[in-house]
């Protein structure tokens, strides 16, 4: 996905499908599609069955210019905090020479035009929005500008070459015509066959720190999230779900629930029993009065402590091979210096601030859904299947997501499917709302993982053989992504960050193997996916090796990564800004980690003190090479966010199971980062013209190991199990 940073003429007729046309209300719309890659295409998805994107109806578009000069940018991705509400419009506005104050933004519907340019389905995930849309949104802007110039040329009787554009106007000498005044005429023109994108040196918006366009409405309380959907006739539902994962309803008694004022109906759905009421409080009170007898099923004795013990046993044996080189056995026989360690990481909940919810209105031949989702196309298909409708008869209205972190991209479309079932059974429009307890207990966790490694050191203290076994559940197994992500039994996302580690490239002998646990706990990608556990393990092990070799952890990494300039660039920038070689205040110690994920390279340096067992992180210095930083301030915000999310989890978060039930329920026992524990965060950006990577996730993986490596520097105690909790007490 190399971003063309040069002046790039594009032959549109070959590469893209374009449709320009007048809106009903006047103005210009640009629908613009690049044929999607098939890599992650889901069987039966809309994209796959769409006859021809060029023949699609017009209302779906990337860009609309109104006769009132407003420019509405349609987002093919969901705004969940990462600021694409601002970044994608920046791309269009740059090429369009738009008046930034006239930009409006909308989430697009679920439609083939909005399929991810690399993944082949409509999704916001993998820290991929900006790089995957960098061409498409700039092209949409450039194409529109070309049409507006043509329209102006015709109107003025001037040659197109003599015209320029600036701040929402086409300019000819002293004359200027606003884009809004040209929009209708432009809509009647044929689209040009080629367009030329700006040279980076001419960018006025890309690369400049730009304030969020969704800031004002999120500050004054008017921003609409899924929870805020209200309309006449919309009821609120809460579903009583099995306390044990996978349990089903045996019988239920709704007598008492129906006596609660405001409770209207009680209906059974596949996931449990739904209480439908006038408002949340009535639904909640009704659900508390509901009596359900459950078939607890096969997971009734599930216990995460026992599971961890099983994983540890498995980790002592070789799994399916994910990566291998040389001959570990004979290499290990040649030395007597080893690092041997076992690491364990818990199940984690995403716990976005906005509890899951989904509003559904079903009419004869149409279903409308309002929800904060990261995966519109999948939700649309799931709803259509439940209702016996065609996908295009299901309209998805994406609203602001009160956090996602992966939870709102569910291959099973769990919270949408359930809401559709509830609305179908109730026969009225329903908003299904999860309580925080439902969210914490309701599944789809970052899987628990155990890693066991034995690493041989040569006489120079450098690794000469690396034996590594990982044990954990696959997040791809049983999903439509299985065929693309699981090869020879190995889920690529279980070993990302280990099997492809740059450290292995300089080690002659290694073997990375995987046991995929068959546990029935629902698991899902969690911010930074496999890297959320593999980076902790790898960067801790490297630190263990450095200390065993009696070498400086930074210098040790530099030596191992000498052929990896982007790792080095991040590492060196962080080290420079953190004054790595200068002593800190008494009692404060540093730890360092560096990791590549989602195409970006991040180094984190933590400054930590430990007093009477209590860990305090004072400062994090973060450096990232993500290639071009389209909006440097939102990039910084994402790095700050990654520190908070990663550090909170590393310090305190853990989901455990006993008797098949989740032991945590809310923020008092599923602890996350709070203000008082948040360190100072400094973010530095490597000036880079390398291939673009993501920024939403890559900051997170090196956070935990930077902190635990600092704890080792402070105390000599190696933290090999997360969360850190009170292990130092």
């Amino acid at each position: 996905m190399n971003a063309p940073l040069k002046n790039t003429p594009l032959n549109i007729s070959r590469r893209t499908f374009i449709k320009a046309g007048a809106l009903v209300v006047g103005g210009l719309v640009i629908a613009f599609t690049i044929p999607h890659a098939k890599r992650f295409l889901m069987p039966g998805s809309v994209a796959e069955t769409a006859p021809d994107a060029a023949k699609l109806p017009a209302p779906n578009a990337f860009l609309r210019i109104g006769t009132d000069n407003t420019i509405t940018v349609m987002l093919a991705h969901s705004e969940m905090g990462q600021s694409i509400w601002t970044t994608l419009p920046m791309l269009i506005a740059e090429e369009l020479d738009a008046d930034w104050s006239k930009i409006k933004v909308e989430h697009a519907s679920a439609a083939p035009e909005y399929v991810h340019t690399a993944y082949g389905l409509q999704i916001t995930g993998g820290s991929s929005t900006t790089w995957s849309e960098f061409d498409r949104y700039r092209q949409a802007g450039a194409l529109t500008r070309a049409l507006l110039i043509s329209a102006a040329a015709e109107k003025l009787g001037a040659s197109a070459d003599s015209l320029k554009t600036e701040n929402g106007y086409v300019i000819s000498g002293d004359n200027k015509i606003s884009y809004g005044d040209l929009a209708e005429a432009a809509a009647k023109l044929e689209t040009p066959k080629t367009i030329t994108l700006k040279e980076p040196k001419d960018w006025k918006i890309i690369g400049k720190a730009t304030k969020r366009l969704d800031g004002p409405e999120k500050i004054n309380g008017t921003a609409i999230f899924g929870q805020d959907i209200q309309f006449d006739g919309l009821m609120t539902a809460m579903v009583a779900r099995s306390p044990v994962i996978g349990g089903t309803v045996k019988t239920f008694d709704a007598t008492a629930a129906k006596q609660i004022k405001g409770v209207r109906q009680v209906v059974q759905v596949s996931t449990g029993v739904a209480v439908i009421a006038d408002n949340y409080w009535a639904a909640k009170t009704g659900r508390e009065a509901l009596k359900v007898d459950w078939n607890l099923g096969e997971n009734a004795s599930l216990d995460s402590k026992a599971l961890l013990a099983e994983y540890k046993k498995l980790a002592a044996t070789t799994g399916l091979i994910a990566a291998k080189a040389g001959d570990n056995k004979s290499a290990m026989a040649k030395t007597n210096q080893f690092v041997e360690a076992e690491y364990a990481l818990p199940y984690l909940a995403h716990a976005p601030m906005e509890p899951l919810n989904c509003s559904v209105k079903i009419e004869k031949d149409i279903c409308e859904i309002w929800t904060g989702t990261q995966m519109q196309g999948t939700d649309q298909l799931a709803a259509a299947k439940i209702l016996g409708l065609k996908p295009e008869q299901v309209k998805i209205h994406t609203v602001f997501l009160g956090g996602g972190f992966g939870r709102r991209a569910n291959p099973q479309a769990d919270f949408v499917s359930e809401a559709v079932q509830v609305a179908k059974a109730a026969g009225v429009p329903v908003k299904t709302v999860w309580s925080r307890e439902d969210d914490v207990k309701g599944g789809y966790y970052r899987p628990m993982f155990v890693h066991k490694a034995k690493i041989a050191l040569d006489t120079n203290g450098m690794p000469s053989a690396w034996e590594h076994v990982a044990v954990g559940q696959s997040i791809m197994l049983g999903t439509p992504f299985e065929a693309f992500q699981i090869k020879d039994g190995v889920d690529a996302t279980s070993v990302e960050g280990t099997a492809d580690s740059p450290y292995l490239k300089n080690i002659p002998n290694y073997q990375i193997s995987l046991h995929t646990a068959k546990t029935k706990i629902p698991v899902l990608w969690w911010r930074s996916v496999g890297h959320s556990h593999t980076a902790f393990v790898m960067e801790s092990l490297i630190d263990e090796l450095a200390h065993t070799a009696k070498k400086d952890p930074l210098e040790y990494r530099r030596a191992l990564l000498k052929d990896h300039p982007r790792h080095l660039a991040a590492l060196n920038l962080a080290a420079e800004k953190a004054d790595w070689n200068k002593p800190l205040a008494k009692g404060v110690f540093r730890g360092i980690a560096v990791h590549e994920s989602f195409g970006s390279f991040v180094a984190q340096i933590a400054e930590v003190s430990v007093n009477e067992g209590e860990v305090k992180v004072h400062r994090m210095v973060s450096a990232i090479d993500c290639g071009l930083a389209v909006n440097p301030d939102s990039l910084k915000a994402q790095m700050e966010s990654s520190v908070s999310f990663g550090l909170g989890a590393a310090m305190q978060s853990e989901i455990t199971f006993k008797d098949g039930m989740v032991e945590q329920s809310n923020f008092h026992d599923y602890q996350v980062m709070r203000m008082g524990n948040m360190p100072k965060v400094e973010v530095y950006i490597v000036q880079s013209t390398e291939k673009m990577g993501g920024v939403g996730e890559p900051g997170l993986p090196p956070v935990a190991p930077a902190v635990t490596n600092a704890i080792f520097a402070a105390t000599g105690k190696r933290i090999r199990t997360l969360p850190i909790g009170n292990q130092l007490a």
């Binding site: 004054n220 309380g221 949340y280 409080w281 008092h668």
Partner: protein
């Protein structure tokens, strides 16, 4: 039927006495700026002012608001401190997903109303009940200091 003063306006709501203020505001008065996050005063997303004090509306029954003034995010533009806080939030570009920010702003406004120049420790104490999963904490801290200096 209960008579309430919400954002300076008298309103009568037909709700049970034990309904938390949060749900009366959101589902009955249709003021959706105040958010639901946890339902047990653990996250602060539901923070509103009751006679100027920051409270967690998800656990405070509506009966406790009788005869008192409820102020929500929707009315912060009419509050001198609230205005400064909102302006600082914009200047620092605090928000990410934005869901917790109504509660953050209500807590910050209550803090600055009683403490004109909070230290970092004061901010930690006043704001640690407000969770932000996006981790906007450093910017919230900066914005509170910014608002304090503007109000000075």
């Amino acid at each position: 039927m209960i008579t309430l003063n919400i954002n300076g306006k008298e309103q009568q709501l037909d709700v049970p006495d034990d309904m938390p203020i949060l749900w009366a505001l959101r589902d009955v008065a249709h003021l959706t700026g105040t958010k639901f996050g946890c339902g047990m005063a653990q996250c602060g997303a539901c923070t509103v002012h009751l006679d100027g004090q920051a409270i967690r509306s998800c656990i405070t029954p509506i009966s406790a608001a009788a005869g008192k003034n409820i102020t929500t995010i929707e009315d912060m533009q009419n509050d001198k401190v609230g205005q400064a806080v909102q302006a600082a939030w914009g200047e620092i570009d605090v928000v990410q997903c934005g869901y917790c920010q109504s509660g953050q702003i209500m807590s910050a406004t209550a803090l600055l109303t009683t403490n004109k120049k909070p230290t970092d420790a004061d901010i930690d104490a006043a704001m640690s009940g407000n969770i932000c999963r996006c981790g906007t904490y450093p910017r919230i801290r900066a914005a509170i200091h910014n608002a304090a200096s503007k109000l000075a």
